[in-house]
Amino acid sequence: MKDFIIPGLDGAPAFSDRDFGTPARTSQRTVTLTIDGFPVTVPEGTSVMRASNTLGIAIPKLCATDNLEAWGSCRLCAVEIEGRRGTPASCTTPVTEGMVVHTQTPKLHKLRKGVMELYISDHPLDCLTCAANGDCELQDMAGAVGLREVRYEAPPQAPLANHFLRRQDGDANPQFIPKDDSNPYFTYDPSKCIVCSRCVRACEEVQGTFALTIQGRGFDSRVSAGMAGDSFLSSDCVSCGACVQACPTATLQEKSVIEIGTPDRKVVTTCAYCGVGCSFEAEMRGDTVVRMTPWKHGKANRGHSCVKGRFAWGYASHGDRITAPMIRERITDPWEVVTWDEAITFAATRLRDIQARHGVKSIGGITSSRCTNEETYLVQKMIRAVFGNNNTDTCARVCHSPTGYGLGRAFGTSAGTQDFDSVEHTDVVIVIGANPTDGHPVFASRLKKRLREGARLIVIDPRRIDLVRSPHVEAAHHLPLRPGTNVAVVTALAHVIVTEGLYDERFIRERCDWDEFQHYAEFVAQDRHSPEAIALLTGVDPQDLRAAARLFATGGNGAIYYGLGVTEHSQGSTTVMAIANLAMLTGNLGRPGVGVNPLRGQNNVQGACDMGSFPHELPGYRHVSQDATRDVFERLWGAVLDKEPGLRIPNMLDAAVEGTFKGLYVQGEDILQSDPDTHHVAAGLAAMDCVIVQDLFLNETANYAHVFLPGCTFLEKDGTFTNAERRINRVRKVMQPLNGFADWEVTQLLANAMGAGWAYTHPAQVMDEIAATTPSFAGVSYELLEEKGSVQWPCNELHPEGTPIMHVDGFMRGKGRFIVTEYVATEERTGPRFPLLLTTGRILSQYNVGAQTRRTANTVWHDQDVLEIHPHDAEVRGIKDGDWVRLASRAGDTSLRALLTDRVSPGVVYTTFHHPDTQANVITTDFSDWATNCPEYKVTAVQVALTNGPSDWQVDYARQADLSRRVLPAAE
């Protein structure tokens, strides 16, 4: 696609697609030079190619692209520079003061034409039927250099060697390599390769996996995935798509483009998978998505992607999508397809009837961390203003609610303190209870890039996650702690820093409460918190722990990134506070490169929390007991709001079993599969009189539902998501909702059927309401988002363009608080019956409960949950790799296959929860974080034994699920 920019003129596109050839430089010093007679001033270190592009003059190129460092191999970008001999490559030549460059001369013209002629002499000329036709840089460059003929002809005796003909003169061509179709999403066609190395460099520089290489030398050079004999699928390739995007030809090509053709337009939107919140361009033809490509101006991802966002969007058109509403009298009945009117009336009547019989507080709802801010805001508004109670909660309850509580107490706000760009300035990173290469892959790539530049890494995790040791990355320290001992380990780190005098006294005196610090210092300095004293309990080598503490305190900018391995414990909130203490102790807050960074699980879990999804908080984290806050909403909503907190998800289920909670509206959430202690969740749902599920598919929770309202995907609606760095990104509708309504419209239908009288016609109006009521969002509007691309809250009069880094001049609450963090062992303990500890996690190719990714080709990488077990623990139980094993806890049991690995320590087993036929949460218990009731997913005492196959429970569950998914044939 061609684009023209005229720099400096009003109306120039803010977010140009232009490829500047080499990456931007950020030097404060500038250099002025002349290119083709035009003066241009650029930062020192900029290449001649990039400088030329800023003038709007594109120098022909093949091996250069602006998300990769210059390589200088294609020889097409040659220029002439006055006073220098020869024709240097403009991509590898830095600008100098006063330089005079010519990009188009007779000499250069001839040179480039000669280079192109050589390239084309070994390239098939099947452009008309090639998948990259119209989107091929080789084709573009042949045009740009004026190539009109290829003069190389075979001599009469022998054919010219080439890579693209399958057979020559009746013989097989030894240079020809057939297409590699093994990856489900893209093909590798070596016959079209020009060996520019862009794919190899993208795999190294951008993704950091190092799966690709150039094999052979000279004319034999070929791109190769993995070792000899590997295909793309069997290699280390993680299918992030960076190589496909970098490829200038059809050598690496999306299968969707091969099938559909090139797109006709692009719409910038936000990925609906993890909390990184990558910006993508949905490339469309008609209302069909041709491909999703990462947007180079996306500030979270900076042009990178992972296998989920880049490729796994096929679920949107999967045959399992339900697009018509359904109801049923009892959950044992088959579903009946009805009109929207009937479904909404049925739901509204039932809910009101329950309230008439059991009281106003007998119903509630769950907002979705996968839906937009506007949708979440409307669901909690409906619950508070229309249902008339505060029984609203969200899946953040089961992931990052301890972050909200812990950081709120320490700093005055639950927000993560940095933007993702911050990692570029980090010197020492602690990753605790997170597995970024699987859970937050694009952030992991950015982190690995920084680690390759020399930053050092401390991993605190029971499992040897990939970051501990992977190509060109090795953690300085891995502290493989016993699950459930986070508080002891983080407090011991603080012990070393305090007792060895490594803390940042100036920062603490200026920014924190000094009296509290002294009390805290006295507490952590006690011998019982020393690494040696806790070694037996935590299993962490004391010398390693001491060395890690010293490194973090003295190694420069220190940043802490953490995930659900921190929060999903009975002491989740305490660990968050311990992490806050560690950051304050070392002065690592309030500037780039440092901070406390919770890695949020779902795409909009940050937003769902911001929007008042919690039962005790109105939008903007304001407690429901605050009269002034309630007053703001009561005036606007024309309803009296309850000043007492409502029920949290686990409390709702308890109340349901007890008989005081009877109706639930669940938007885009599958609590039966995602929440702990499945038996208890099922009992709670089964005890209700009206469960309304709004989702894309008949999920597991829908087995217990009376009303199914079809939802729509992020491609089918407008709105915003807020990612882990508080960045509000636009979600843009690229096609009409298959179900007829955007999710916010469905909520409005239900609310209005219950008497709300809402009249929103676009989510922008909802955002205006959020801005009008919530101080941290006061400056946010769709106009601002169009202009800036995205913005990080707080965004208001004080911060009109948002806030990349929090607590710059002082903490939100004034003085930072040091909070004593006493280790308390979880009540979940191993014993003779359950001698092993189960901890849970995620895998790269699958997402959360798998509802989306299981309905894509991502299943080739992970088609079932497996149990990771240490070879020692396996041996004593007679378990071999791949055996069926029964995993049992006091809550329940299930069966799955074993994977023997020393990634887990002896005594620890590990699995994922992506597949409903395994249901890892049958095993997990109802123990939870003391402050927030966030479930203790990460520690369950279990036993593992050989078995023959799925457990009775699994068989029964599958049968019941099948029964509950029956749909009556539509009436004529």
């Binding site: 507080k361 505060n390 029984n391 009390h519 009975s570 909130s573 305490t574 039962p615 005790h616 407690h623 007991s625 007492e644 907190p645 409502g646 029920l647 949290r648 409390n651 308890d654 109340a655 079993v657 007890e658 005081t660 909070i819 004593v820 963090t821 006493e822 308390v824 009540e827 109802d926 939870s928 003391w930 402050a931 927030t932 009731n933």
Partner: protein, 74 residues
């Protein structure tokens, strides 16, 4: 003790255990404030009823906090 009461007792004790480790002499107030801020009224009512019935299993600090909850707030 019913399963529901046992769960509330465990949760209240967990909260008390955290605040017991905190400095100062207002731990009972802190526990009571936490309960008030995060627990739905029917949970508080059930906890108070359990305390009325002898409060079996509640830690001393949790019991003191429960007593504070009985004082009507202005």
């Amino acid at each position: 003790m019913s399963a529901d009461a046992a769960k509330l007792v465990r949760m209240a004790n967990q909260i008390a255990t955290f605040f017991a480790s905190q400095p100062g002499d207002i731990q009972a107030e802190e526990v009571a404030a936490h309960l008030k801020a995060f627990w739905e009224p029917r949970m508080l009512t059930a906890l108070l009823a359990h305390a009325d019935a002898g409060g079996a299993g509640l830690s001393p600090l949790a019991l003191r906090a429960v007593e504070r909850l009985r004082v009507p707030t202005a």
